[in-house]
């Protein structure tokens, strides 16, 4: 199915196009980038429209030999989970372009090229089913993101960029080791040396080895998610990145970690993952509460949302390791919801910063009256972020907690505390920014047409996800069932390496 590779390579070709001929033609590059990302979105929607599962539950598969000597293929596949995340990626593309329209003052062509390159990397991560290919895209998305942060970021951008890069890189390199280990063990067992995901699923690993390999993958994903205590790159990166960068970071890059858990950690190492589940859930709950707590004491709005992302992604991990229908469905849905919601919130903070010149809550206040449109839309997204029923995050968090509750009521209770704290910090943020007396008198301009359309679209997405998530959840039926089957296939009384 060649459309998958179109999905991946369209942005990078667009990036080349823009990068080569777009110098000093700001207007042209803007529209070109918008055109490319919109085409991408249309293709993604078309793929969604035509999606029909095959025997393995994959809607589309594409298999081309790449490096036959090593058993590396160009193997792309899209099942329900990747479809949803691809949709999210495609949606956030135009959003990021539109948000940067006037916010990026210099070197628009390079910026657009990097943005598109990042999108390619992320698309690749969500689509590749060959482990080396996956790793290639996994690393590939780092570099343009590094430059987005490092070149267009705010005050401490270089520090943040380094931190971002080194944290994620160290993790992913360990994953590389694990991938290679998997490859050779599989090769020794079966005589077929391949990185093919479907082949590797058949592998049967001894307990300790499985655990170590799983940890190799897990560390890479945990850094991306990010889980406590390896989250410390995230607030810096989010804060210093330009708005579009933050949108991609929070909306998409964090999802790649969770996606990795779902796609690789659980099915490849079911036994080890099952043993690891309590720890995974503990890390999740720590993330939920810790992120919420720290969000409470942030002055910088972007930093606040960054910590809230830690909290929300904690829920995702929570759901993943609950490993049942509700938990997994909820985790994926929450990923989507968080992508849209947080993307929108970062976009709005960017707009706010363009208008007020600051993101500090101490310097904002009372903006509801001069900026009613912005304020009310921000309220909508804030509510979504604190999982207001009817809005995007709710169903996800609800399902996650419902899933977790079946595993352990205590964990569910702790997670529910996270919802309460979520309300506390988000409302407080909203109050400090939008309510009260206006602190700065200046000529405020409310959202213009571009921004309204952009945020309106995201608001629609938020409402759709909240009110009618069934079309999205339908896609998850097959992959989630497969995951649960993988769990059920684990022999009872297997070695509990961790306990």
């Amino acid at each position: 199915m060649y459309w998958l590779s179109v999905l991946i390579f369209l942005p990078v070709l667009g990036a080349l196009w823009i990068g080569v001929i777009g110098r000093n033609k700001t207007d042209f590059t803007r529209w070109a980038a918008l055109a490319v990302t919109s085409t991408e979105l249309l293709i993604a929607l078309g793929l969604w429209w035509n999606a029909a599962p095959n025997a393995e539950g994959y809607y589309y598969l594409m298999r081309v030999p790449w490096i036959p000597a090593m058993g590396i293929q160009f193997l792309l596949g899209m099942d329900g989970i990747s479809l949803l995340l691809v949709l999210l990626t495609a949606l956030l593309g135009p959003v990021a372009v539109l948000v940067s329209w006037h916010a990026i003052k210099q070197n628009w062509s390079a910026f657009a090229a990097l943005l598109l390159a990042t999108q390619t990397g992320i698309m690749g991560v969500f689509l590749s089913l060959d482990l080396v290919l996956f790793y290639v895209f996994w690393e590939l998305m780092l570099v343009p993101m590094y430059f987005l942060i490092g070149l267009w970021g705010h005050e401490r951008r270089l520090y943040a960029a380094y931190k971002f890069f080194l944290f994620t890189l160290t993790g992913s390199l360990l994953m590389l080791i694990a991938i290679l280990g998997l490859y050779f063990i599989h090769g020794e067992q079966t005589g077929i040396y391949t990185f093919d995901y479907f082949e590797l699923l058949q592998i049967n690993l001894p307990g300790k080895t499985e655990l170590w390999l799983m940890l190799g993958f897990f560390v890479a994903f945990a850094v991306k998610i990010p889980l406590f205590p390896i989250h410390s790159w995230l607030p810096d990166a989010h804060t210093e990145a330009p708005t579009a960068g933050s949108i991609f970071l929070a909306g998409l890059l964090l999802k790649t970690g969770a996606y990795g858990l779902l796609r690789f950690c659980l099915p490849l190492f079911p036994e080890a993952s099952l043993d690891f589940a309590p720890i995974g859930m503990t890390l999740g709950v720590i993330g939920i509460l810790y992120g919420a707590l720290l969000a409470l004491v942030q002055e910088d709005m972007k930093r606040l949302i960054a910590y809230s992302s830690i909290s929300h992604l904690g829920f995702v991990v929570f759901g993943i390791y609950a490993w049942n229908q509700e938990g997994l469905n909820g985790a994926v849905l929450l990923m989507l919801a968080h992508g849209v919601t947080t993307g929108a919130m970062f976009a709005m903070i960017g707009m706010l910063q363009e208008r007020s010149g600051t993101r500090l809550l101490t310097q904002l206040g009372g903006l509801l009256s001069p900026l009613p449109r912005l304020a009310s839309l921000l309220l909508l997204f804030t509510l979504s972020a604190m999982s207001m029923p009817g809005l995007a995050n709710f169903i996800g968090e609800f399902l996650v907690l419902a899933g977790v509750f079946q595993i352990s009521a205590g964990f569910a209770f702790a997670g529910a505390l996270g919802i309460i704290t979520g309300v506390v910090y988000l409302l407080w943020m909203y109050q400090r920014a939008m309510l009260g007396e206006i602190t700065v008198q200046r000529l405020w301009t409310d959202l213009n047409r571009r921004e309204t359309v952009l945020l309106g679209a995201l608001a629609l997405a938020v409402l759709w996800l909240g009110l009618y998530p069934a079309p999205f959840l339908d896609n998850l039926q097959i992959p989630v069932t497969a995951l649960i089957e993988a769990k059920n296939a684990v022999p009872t009384g297997s070695i509990n390496a961790l306990r």
Partner: protein, 645 residues
Amino acid sequence: MNQWLWLIPGTPLLGSLVIALLGGLLRREHIAVLACLAAAAAFLVVLLAWLAGAASQPLQQTLYTWVAVGDWRPMFGFMLDRLALVMVSIVSGVGLLVHLYSVSFMAEETDQRRYYFFLNLFLAGMLLLVLADNLLLLYLGWELVGLCSYALIGFWYRDPVCSNAGRKAFIVTRIGDTALALGIFLLFSQFHELSLSALLTDAAAQWEKGSALATVATLLILGGAVGKSAQLPLQVWLPDAMAGPSPVSALMHAATMVTAGVYLIARTHPLFELAPQTQWLVAAIGALTIVYGASAALAQIDFKKVLAYSTISQIGYMFLALGCGAYALALFHLTTHAFFKALLFLSAGAVIQASRDEHDINKLGKIGHHPPLARWTFLAGAASLAGVPVVTAGFYSKDAILATAWSAPAGPLLWTFAAFGALLTAIYIFRVYLIVFHGAAPQTSTLSLPYPMSVPLLILALLSIISGFIELPEGWPGPHLWSPWFEEELGLATFPSLTITYMLQLIAALLPFIGMGLACVLIRRERANQPLPLANFLRCGWNFDAFYQATLARPYYALARGLRGIVETLLIEGALTRITCGLLAFATFCRKGVEYNVLEVSISRLVATLRFAYTLLGTTQNGVLSRYALVISTGAVFFLGYWLW
């Protein structure tokens, strides 16, 4: 009619959407009219539902599959049975009246669009809550009304008092909501089903009476109900919520939203019947709250806060009835309370607005302007609240609850609380009435109210007087329409024997009059500057705020003690703010302690180590050729030495 059910919440929702999206194009007055039309449409649909026979045959509609997870597919579906029918009637009726009232009351406000958007949205949410046929949808409505409450309490957002109050309300109710959510999770994990009808039959079939799971589940649901209905111990938000506009207080914090807890328990009563301990706890909470609210109301000086505590106390009656298994009576009181409390708030609002937003009852008494209509309707509401026998609706509903409480476990005790509460009720409401309307202010005010305000007041006054007549007390001749109509759905209340009933009725009938007398005494003492003992304690709502500070905030406080600089910032008013601040301190501790001192420092340590290693290695690279050769030779020695080993 089945397929039109969605119109009931749909019309106000549509109204709110139109206001939100197109409100910019409309003039202020038109927005108000639009909102009223939406509310009226909802009411109209409810009336049509009555006509279509919803009273005899429950209506149902399923819009679409909301969530599809595995084999669990909760629908976006509505169910209109008798319980829901009564609720939607009250909600849409009172809602319509309040909308009307708002047209005049809020005419001066600039931000009509926001106001009516949330008012309509609230109506939609409340109707959704009531109509929901599964717990998930109910939870949606539940949160939606909480949100609107938050937004409207903080309507005057420029005032930090208002926005703080809104936030407090949201957070406190959210605590209850989370309990409710956990309860839902528990039920879901047990039955894999959230549809109300299926859930209740399953529960009845699978759970033994008094089983631990049932108790826990009902306790969690009770948590949600307590939070939303402002019962002990989560009542702290309601008095603060009076910072919002009066129509909002009337609609949400008196008539409808706060009774959602009552509705929830009534709706899930089969579960509660499986858990007698919880049910008794419901009754006990109700009884305690009655006294708590009434006593706190006794010492208030803010006009609306009196009514707020009164609401807390009155909902206590409903909880008492629920706890005693008299669900229909709880609903009865809910209905009459909706009328008279809305009336009280609306007329109080009229007075307050006429007196340039003066809330202090003493000042209102001295210099306030009292539109005559407001005065008389307030009196009607007060009488109904106090339960003046025979002529008011409040008498009938409250009397029945008192009677049924007697026959519950530990009945006389409950009854005593309830009766004492009734006495206090009479005292505080007449105290307020007398202070405000019989103070030094010119009594012959001729201020007249505009029609949008006066018509709702009159209708509500009428209803608070006559709505009781549909069900006369046990043992009296006359119509007994209410309880039997509900028998199928909610069962019948039990009453003590007829003689005791008569006794109790007599006492109950006397209480208002005693109360009136005591109120006069109280006022005289107050005017002589001899306030009630414990007045301050009562005024602060039994110092609950302080109590929470001590029990919840202090542990966090201890955590934060090491961080001197932050401690200062902790000293902000209000209990929940205290808790928040406790969290805040802890969070700051985490930020300083963990984020910076541990994580950042470990990174910088690593960097320093690497740099040190670099320097160390770099100094060996001193440019002297012999040194290089030496290193090579040393390496050679080691490598050759390897072969010896």
